[in-house]
Symmetry: none
């Protein structure tokens, strides 16, 4: 049974609370903040706690790293990255414009490049936008349809 002292679980909850409300930049500082909750631990323990909580250190101090995995890297296939990152698509003549989640345009573009579809002349990716240059305008709908296939719900998983 749990002891009278503060459990690991409670401590980690306090840590999450603390870093959510204030900017903490070191485990030493975190330890000091925890003292106000009557919790006293060493830096080593905090290092372990932060790892378990999935906390990372950003420009503004520690933050919970739960958001959509910024970079699933490795090599999923085209379908996977399209389904995961693409928000919308449209075409304009020789060009298809793809909107993705911020920061992931290059990931998607790289996969499209790799597919080497003959109708595509080239792609270029910014932060959240991809331009796909086509050889001829009339293939736009064909390519769009091919890409959209994987976006439809109930389309495998």
């Amino acid at each position: 049974m749990p002891r009278v002292e503060v459990t690991k679980k409670v401590r980690q909850a306090r840590i999450a609370q603390l870093i959510a409300r204030s900017q903490v930049f070191s485990q030493q500082g975190l330890a000091e903040g925890l003292v106000r909750f009557g919790i006293q631990v060493t830096q080593a323990t905090l290092s372990r706690d932060l790892t378990e909580l999935g906390v990372i250190k950003g420009p503004h101090g520690y933050e919970v790293f739960s958001r959509t995995e910024p970079e699933p890297r490795a090599n999923g296939d085209l379908k996977r990255v399209v389904r995961e990152f693409v928000r919308s698509m449209d075409s304009a003549d020789h060009l298809i414009v793809v909107q993705t989640d911020p920061g992931n345009a290059h990931t998607v573009a790289a996969h499209i490049d790799r597919a080497q579809w003959p109708e595509i002349v080239g792609t270029i990716a910014g932060d959240d936008t991809i331009f796909i240059a086509l050889k001829r305008p009339r293939v736009a709908n064909k390519i769009l349809a091919r890409l959209r296939e994987v976006l439809r719900p109930g389309n495998g998983h």
Copy 2:
């Protein structure tokens, strides 16, 4: 002016490329990866680069945290950056494709954007390529000519 050495900008572009494609867990390891690009720097410089790039260290290595582009110190005009970074240009229908020195596409594109030429709908820049979307294909040559003016030798300084 072209420099013999690798510029900071190019180096940071390589860093971004490297951490996007593989999992890097230390600045030491990053330095080793950069050697394959012929770039040799110390850990201290990489620490600074990562800060400037807004890179953080997550469970899967370094990742880009935020695209807080400090925006190229509003310096130099369009002519200067075109002369300095552009390698070649061509058009494809309503699209102009500009090739630049590695890592400098954003700089050039930003200046083109700033010029606000009415014939240009928008631009998007990758690592060394820019797509310029035009309202209508027939203005391509006009824009190309205007850009190429500054590339001609003996064109002021």
